[in-house]
Symmetry: C2
Subunit: 456 residues, 2 copies
C-alpha cells in the first residue's frame, strides 16, 4: 500500500462493462416521446445506430467489450491508479487518498473511454459521419480523436463560452481532422433562433445538443448519426471501465474497498465511471459513501427536481426521467464548462432517488483553491471540472482527520488542465467570485421548462 | 515484444546517472574564462552551488542519485517505454519503433528530470531563489514545478517569441508559484541594451541566459543562483535516467539493443538523456546509429563549427568548446522554441567530433507533417520540438522498409504539444514555410561572434 502508482497490465484490463441499470430497484422510468408514450427503438434509430441503442436499453448486468475496442483502449489503458501521498501529508490526514488518473488519454480526459466504442459501433453499423456537442471541449476532442483512429468524419458544436475561453481545444479537434463551430451557430434553425433572441448568449450544452441532433437529422441518407458524450445509459456503461480497473488495482496492492468514492458530475459520465462498480457493492451491502460533486452554479442533483425533461434546449431528445434545472436553463459562464449541463444521467439520478448517492455542490473559487493546493502538493495541473472532485476529496480527508479515522478515499481525476490555463490565470488574478444559482432563477427556469411535461 | 507499453516498477528505477565524460576519448576542452585560462570552481561558484559544480566537473562514470530525489521522480518515473505499432503499420515497416514517453511528467516534458535535482542540490546548499531562461517554456515550467515542490523561489526569463506564441506557459509557471517575464526585458542591462538596438527582436535563449545570470549575480547575499536547463554536463548527467530506464525496459520485454537511437537537439539534453547510455555501448563496440535531430533554421551540429564560444549573448558564461552558430545568432522564430539555441552541449559536441553521432536537420514543415502523421496514427499530439525526433524516426523506419531490415528504433518523445496548439493551427492553415539558415547569415554571425575567441 506504499506505492504512489499502481499499474495494471494489459492482460488484466476488464473485459466487460458494468450496467448499473440491472441492479437498481426501480421502478425505472422509460424515455418518453413528445406524445408522453415510451419511445420506440425505431424513433431513436434516426439519430443512433441500432447496436448502441441495444446497449442503451440492455437489462444485462455485464456487457462484453469487443476485442477491437480493447485494442484501441490499450493505447492508454489500463489507466494508472495513483495515491496522493503529498496531499495526504499536507492535510495531515490518516486517510489514504487514491485517484484514477484519466488525464493520461491522448485527449487528456476520461471521454475517449466512450468516444472509442461509440465511433467503433457506428463504424460497424455503416455510419460515415458523427455530429456532437461539447462543453469545455473534452468531449469534442475525444470524439475527434476516436473518429480519426476509426475513420469517421466528426462535426462538433462547442458551447460558445468555452469556444472563446478555450480556443486551443478547437485546434486540437482540427489536428485529429474534426470540424468545430461555436454554438449557437448560424448553421441550424435552433442556433439561429437562439441568436435572434439572445445574441450575446454564452451558449449551453442543451443548445449545442439541439444543433448537433438537427444536423444529424438533416442527412436523409441516414449515414450521419449523433453522438452524446454523457447522460445516456450506454455512455455510463462504457465509462465503468474506470471503476472496474480501480477495483482490480486496489486489490492488487492489498488495499481494502474504499470508504468514500468521489467524482465531479456534469452529465454524470466520469462520476458513473468511477462509482457504479462500487454502487453495485453498496447495493449488495458494502458501507460506502458515494459523492457526485457539482458546481453551485449548476446544482442539478442538489437542487433540481427529479422529473421528466428534455436533454436539449429545443426538445429534440426524448423526455428523460432525471434531475434537472430545466431544459431552458443557461448556466453561468463558469470555467468548468463540462459541468454546465441542466440535466443529469438518468442512471445517476435514479441512484440518488434510491438513496445510494450523496451529492454535494462546490463553487468555483473553492474548487480552484483545491486545484492550486493539488498543483503545489501532487504537482499536476487539473481540469477545472476535476477540481470539484479534488475539493470533495480534500473535505473528506479533513473529516477523516477530525474523526481520527483511517479512511480509504477514491476519486476520479477526470482530466488535465493543460488547455484550461485562462481560468487559472483569472483565479490567480483574483478575478473569480463565488457564485450560487439564485433560487428565483431556478424557479423561473423550472416553470419555463417543465410546465405541461409529464411527471415521473 | 508485442506490448505497446512497457512499465518499470519503482524498485527498478536506475539509482545512478551515467556520465559520458568518463568514456570519451578526448582530449576534453575545459571551459575557459575571459582571460583564455580554464575557469576555476571559485569563478563558477558565484552562479552555481558547489555540489552541482562538483557534478559538472566529475570524472566518475556513475553518480549516485540521492534517495530524496528519487522520491520526487517517482511521481511520474519510471516513464513508460511505448511501441509505436500504429505508425509502424501505417509505414508498412519491418522496424520496431519504441519511444520513451517523457510527456508524462507534470510539466509535460523531460525537463523535470534535471529541474528536480538542480532545485534539490540548490536547496541543500542553502540557495533561496533560482533564476533561469526558457525557450518554449518547457524548462521554465519544469523549474517552477521543481521549486514549488522543494521550496525555492523561481524567476524565469522567457524568450519573447515563445512568450507571445505560448502565453499559457507563463500561467503554468504562475500556478507553481514561478515568476515569468518576456526576454529581452527592461529588468537587466543586457535586456535594455538589446531592446535599444533591436526593439522588435524575437529574443533568443542566448539573450535570456544573459539576463538570468545577470539577475543572479546582482544578489550580493549569494542566495540567488542560476539554473540552466540544458547544455551543461550535469544537466546531461541527470537526463541519462531516460536512456538507462529504456535499456532496462527493452531487456524486460526481451528486445535486443536498438539499431538506431534518435532525439531532437536544441541544447542537447533530451537527446543526451536517451542516447548517452547507448553511446557508452557504441564506444564498447556495439553497432548503433545515434542521431541528434535539429531544425534547419538552427543547424548547430550540422553546420556550426566546433570551437570555443560563449553560452549566452553577452558573454557572461565561460567559453565552452562546442558546436556553435555564434553567440550573437538570433534564430528565426520557428515554433520549436526549445531548439532555438546557438550552441550545443559540449558533451554532445565532443561525441560528434569523435564520430559517435550522426546529426541531421529537418525543417519545420517536414516536422509538422511528421507530427500530424503521429496524431493520426498513434493518437497523441506532440511538442514541436519532439516532432523533429519523430521525423527522424519515420525516415529511419522507411529506410528499414527499403532495406528490408527488421531494425529496432528508439527515440525520445520529449514532450506533449498541449501548450503548442498555435503552431499546429498555423501549419493546418498552410501559413508555415520551409526555412533553412542562409549561408551568408551563418557566416556573418560566426564572424561577429567568434573573432578573437580562442580555438579548440
Amino acid at each position: 500500500m506504499n506505492e504512489i502508482k499502481v499499474t495494471l497490465s494489459e492482460k488484466d484490463i476488464p473485459r466487460q462493462w458494468y450496467n448499473l441499470g440491472a441492479d437498481l430497484k426501480g421502478p425505472m422510468h422509460p424515455p418518453l416521446g413528445p406524445d408522453g408514450k415510451p419511445v420506440t427503438p425505431e424513433q431513436m434509430a434516426r439519430i443512433f445506430p441500432a447496436n448502441l441503442l441495444e446497449q442503451e436499453m440492455t437489462q444485462s448486468r455485464w456487457v462484453d467489450i469487443p476485442e477491437e475496442i480493447l485494442e484501441i483502449l490499450y493505447r492508454w489503458r489500463p489507466a494508472p491508479l495513483r495515491r496522493a501521498r503529498y496531499l495526504e501529508k499536507h492535510l495531515k490526514t490518516p486517510a489514504r487518498i487514491y485517484y484514477k488518473d484519466e488525464s493520461v488519454s491522448p485527449a487528456g480526459s476520461h471521454k475517449p473511454n466512450t468516444a472509442v466504442p461509440q465511433a467503433w459501433y457506428n463504424k460497424q453499423f455503416g455510419t460515415k459521419r458523427l455530429t456532437t456537442e461539447t462543453g469545455a471541449g473534452q468531449w469534442g476532442s475525444a470524439l475527434s480523436f476516436a473518429c480519426s483512429l476509426i475513420g469517421l468524419e466528426c462535426k462538433v458544436f462547442m458551447v460558445r463560452i468555452s469556444f472563446d475561453q478555450k480556443p486551443l481545444r478547437r485546434i486540437m479537434m482540427n489536428i485529429w481532422g474534426g470540424t468545430c463551430v461555436a454554438s449557437p451557430s448560424q448553421e441550424t434553425a435552433t442556433g439561429r433562433q437562439v441568436l435572434k433572441e439572445t445574441p450575446d448568449t454564452p451558449g449551453s450544452l442543451g443548445i449545442a445538443i439541439s444543433e448537433a441532433i438537427e444536423q444529424a437529422l438533416e442527412d436523409q441518407s441516414g449515414q450521419t448519426k449523433y453522438s452524446l458524450g454523457s447522460v445516456l445509459n450506454h455512455v455510463m456503461l462504457h465509462q465503468t471501465i474506470i471503476g472496474l480497473e480501480a477495483k482490480k488495482q486496489l486489490t492488487l496492492i492489498g488495499e481494502r474497498s474504499p470508504d468514500v468514492v468521489i467524482g465531479c458530475a456534469g452529465g454524470g459520465s466520469n462520476f458513473a465511471g468511477v462509482s457504479f462498480p462500487f454502487v453495485h457493492d453498496k447495493i449488495n451491502g458494502a458501507k460506502i459513501t458515494i459523492v457526485p460533486v457539482e458546481p453551485t452554479a449548476c446544482p442539478t442533483l442538489t437542487r433540481g427536481p427529479f422529473t421528466y425533461d428534455f436533454g436539449d434546449k429545443s426538445g429534440q431528445t426524448p423526455l428523460l426521467a432525471m434531475h434537472t434545472l430545466g431544459h431552458n436553463f443557461v448556466p453561468a459562464p463558469i470555467h468548468a464548462g463540462g459541468l454546465r449541463y441542466h440535466g443529469m444521467s438518468p442512471l445517476v439520478s435514479q441512484a440518488v432517488e434510491e438513496g445510494l448517492l450523496e451529492p454535494r455542490a462546490y463553487d468555483q473559487v473553492a474548487s480552484y483553491e483545491a486545484a492550486l493546493l493539488w498543483a503545489k502538493t501532487e504537482g499536476a495541473i487539473c481540469a477545472p471540472e476535476t477540481s470539484h472532485a479534488i475539493a470533495g476529496a480534500v473535505d473528506e480527508a479533513i473529516k477523516a482527520r477530525e474523526e481520527g479515522k483511517e479512511k480509504v478515499i477514491l476519486f476520479c481525476y477526470s482530466g488535465h488542465g493543460m488547455m484550461d490555463m485562462l481560468g487559472y490565470d483569472r483565479y490567480l488574478r483574483g478575478e473569480l467570485t463565488s457564485y450560487s444559482l439564485p433560487e428565483e432563477e431556478l424557479e423561473k427556469s423550472l416553470a419555463a421548462s417543465l410546465t405541461g411535461l409529464p411527471k415521473v
